[in-house]
Symmetry: C2
Subunit: 339 residues, 2 copies
Amino acid sequence: MSQSSHASTASTLHEVARIAGVSPSTVSRILNGTARVSDDKRKAVEAAIANLSYKPNLLAQGLKKGRAMTIGILTQDLASPFFTEALMGVEAALAGSGYAPLIVSGHWHADEEAERVELLMARRVDGIVILSGSLSDKQIGRFAERLPIVATGRRIDTGQARGIALDQLEGARLATDYLLELGHRQIAFIAGLPEHDDARARLAGYRAALEAAGIAFNPALVVQGNFQESGGLLAVNELLETRQRFTAIFCANDQTAYGARLALYRRGIRVPDDISIIGFDDLPNSNYTTPPLTTVRQPVYEMGKQAARTVLQLLNGETPTLTQLPLELIMRESARRIL
Amino acid sequence: MSQSSHASTASTLHEVARIAGVSPSTVSRILNGTARVSDDKRKAVEAAIANLSYKPNLLAQGLKKGRAMTIGILTQDLASPFFTEALMGVEAALAGSGYAPLIVSGHWHADEEAERVELLMARRVDGIVILSGSLSDKQIGRFAERLPIVATGRRIDTGQARGIALDQLEGARLATDYLLELGHRQIAFIAGLPEHDDARARLAGYRAALEAAGIAFNPALVVQGNFQESGGLLAVNELLETRQRFTAIFCANDQTAYGARLALYRRGIRVPDDISIIGFDDLPNSNYTTPPLTTVRQPVYEMGKQAARTVLQLLNGETPTLTQLPLELIMRESARRIL
DNA sequence: TTGAAAGCGTTACCAG
DNA sequence: CTGGTAACGCTTTCAA
């Protein structure tokens, strides 16, 4: 196209060999520790490597070995703290393994997700971690015919595919039970997007807890959110306008809770004095809201870590050991006993 | 090592050629649109590609072409909303360019950062975006001898290296001036980590604004934070314990402001009625704190976008057009006129 | 212990 | 318009 003042080209294994006065094979052997080499040659090679500051071309290596030493990560939303935390876990699990993460995002759109996975495979990643998303189990299964895949938020266990699911229903029950224990009887629920399995499971947990406590489910207390702050804000406004009576709000996730809390603040309704709020996720921020948010902690970091570790195990032909990660109620200050 | 039930191996260009009854060269030409091919052969090849669901091996392609179609991104902290937003900008700029981002993180540690950059180069990325960090301009310059690099938070413009810096001092002045306008005279400042250029520039901006307004700088009103919520919390406690009088707090970043706000909440001090708070960054969350946080918006998304776009331009041998991105005061509800 | 040579999956040059 | 061939940088037999 146009000529750019181009980079000083990187040194190759051949040059190292030439300078050290040995064959390329020998250099390769030293690099990979794949056979014994006499001390003098080793010295010469190491010197050459140092002063050329030679670094093997990972592309060539990957092509030759058939392994690119890369794990593909399909995330949905780089901006969401939830995914971000999972990513950190993945990063931690991969650290020191020799595998580098290749992160792409699918934006919750099945077509885009599939395309991204194809891209990862075209780059010959060795395994893939899928963080939630809208791909069907069937599609994932098909991809897993080619390489190991671990997907979160799913229960699969076929061939080279594994799923790591957290018990959302149980988490929602935990939250609702706690509110019940505190004496609340009219508990509103701001739901997540119904197309998300997680959202439906949380709603189910809320209902289950209510029923177990012998409280009739009141549909007017359930209002649709969108897993975002904006949805929480709107939902509370709606709740207030329809003049429902309630003393607590259970939000389908923390972001929703932030929005709900702001809506209450706008009307001068105090938390937790007038109304209790409880969230779901335990985002890092929830420790610093006013008041700090009582919520259900999802071990997202650990989940990411386990997912990546599992891919690594699959890659080594080991049998992965998947342990169920528990959700946990984090009691802070946004919910309190009803007087 | 151990034998795993291995993946069905991917199809190659040769197989496509064989099935379509043409030579590999022809397939390659069709794939790359690099020469005219007769319609019947094209049809045959396309059919073969479709039913093998063939995808070119990007490793081989990269090796051959010398371009891996990858842009390396060095970030510092995957969990920080600040970096996350920049990443989104990068992602947006890269979308549709054919280049994929390869994200690694350096955790604010120069050695680790350098190592990561080496890793990126070993993978033969075509260009690199460095989001802040502790690398010296000199080091970056050296790296840039090999490939185009755009770094944020720096002013460099040598060879293949470019810097994109936001005017931190100006931003801090904006915030301080605003507080001054609102009638505040005793303005505390919670500083960032002194080893960050940005932190020092913001402190300088604060002092400059004070001086311009003829207000003596009071060192007792400046307390050290750490750019995290915890630092803000501690800093406010310290301020309160030393019994300094102040009516407003300017925090070196939004996270600090969140912590500061919580410290105030804990003591029953109202914001903004008793004390005004102003932050720096405008993180997504700042729209949903109680009260919503008045802050200085850094166009981080745009910065990431511009950084990636610039790398692309450098790669094409175009002359990048860098425009200075302005900081902007976002007036929300955490600061108000003093009575 | 060492080197030569073949090949990983592509692309690009050169004939035809 | 098309096919053969060499080469990208590396690893891995196979001989020596």
